[in-house]
Amino acid sequence: MRNHPPLVELRAVSKTYGQGHAEVHALHDVSLVADTGEMVAVMGPSGSGKSTLLTIAGTLEDPTSGQVLIGGQSLASMPRSAKARLRRQTIGYVFQDFNLLPGLTAAENVSLPLELDGMSARKARVAALRALDGLGLENRAGHFPDQLSGGERQRVAIARATVGQRKLVLADEPSGALDSVNGEAVMRLLHSACKNNAMTAIVVTHDAQLASWADRIIFIRDGRITDQTIPAVGPESLLTVEPEK
């Protein structure tokens, strides 16, 4: 009994790549709902369809069959321009290869989407610096991508995806090149953005420690959702003291 539609909904989505002998069924009949403020992690072996799921949820690719709804609106019936606006304003992406623009500094990479959206350059820069600051990159704002380490580039990509009140952030292995402390910082930031700014996040990861930051974890295998976690009643139960014998 919801009184508002979920932010993202996939209804019986299938995706087939190629034809005939080269046919690959990347997703089979996948249904998935992510509510506003919810952080969902997707885990599964390599080639199980995680990235495919994310690009379809992010409207970057169309499903072969099934429906994708964002904010209750079906993408199939949405005009091209509206889809483009959705991608620019509502959705933030962190890709497996976090493509930053090489000619722009870290701060410019982060502020660019805000400026494209009509924010003044000054305001966009302030927001960008704040986002970089939150990820421990305050001293790297003026660096170009090739002057950053792999993990730093990754954090710039995360700042870019989360800046400016995005409603939906889709992240594919957002902590692949990060050590455990920085990986944790990324997940902590994403989870607090979900809780405090009513953002929704879908995060693909093979790392159970990072996935455990999510409110719900979905397991995917051979293109099908096979299982998901059930939210705990309360973590306090772990801290009750059982005296040793």
Partner: protein, 213 residues
Amino acid sequence: MSVRHAMLALLSEGSSYGLHLREEFEARTGDVWPLNVGQVYTTLQRLERDGLVASEGDEDGPGAQKMFRITQDGARELDTWLRTPPDLSSPPRDELVMKVLIALRVPGASVSEVIQAHRRYLVELMQQWTRIKEDADPADLSLGLAVDAELFRLDAVVRWLDAADARIKRVTADAAPADTPAAATTPAPPHTSVIESLPRMPLTTNRKVRTRR
């Protein structure tokens, strides 16, 4: 960790009354280690008998009013204990390994479903620990470190499950008949057992299986 070494560790910071030790002990370990607070006074008595701590004050009292200090022998014992690796030779996940190995042999059991049941349980536990970490005061180092240790331990078990899953899948795929090319691209229906196509493997771990406790 024993109450004994916890007492020595607390006393290494300076002399203290029994009552205060008990309170400190409760405050520091209560959240993380399941140790019995009721054992504090008897443990102090035994430590004194062994010459590892010394006391003064109310001779026949219950220990609460006595002032305790660590002796040189006690400090040595503490140092030795800190450097002695705990016994990790019997991994706590023996039972899980055993269940997965047995699932391989039970006709009709879906190993991947068995693995997933354990994986989900572990990941749910990890979610609970992570929520504790998220809510904790970042300055509370002992809680943060203890939770991390738990997370890394559970993570290792999940990774073992992932590796087992992948290994079994590869072996079953290799064992699949060559005249069904579709098998390579079409995943098996979720409820099909992988057992039939597996070579019967001897359960070599039988000898090592212990009934715990």
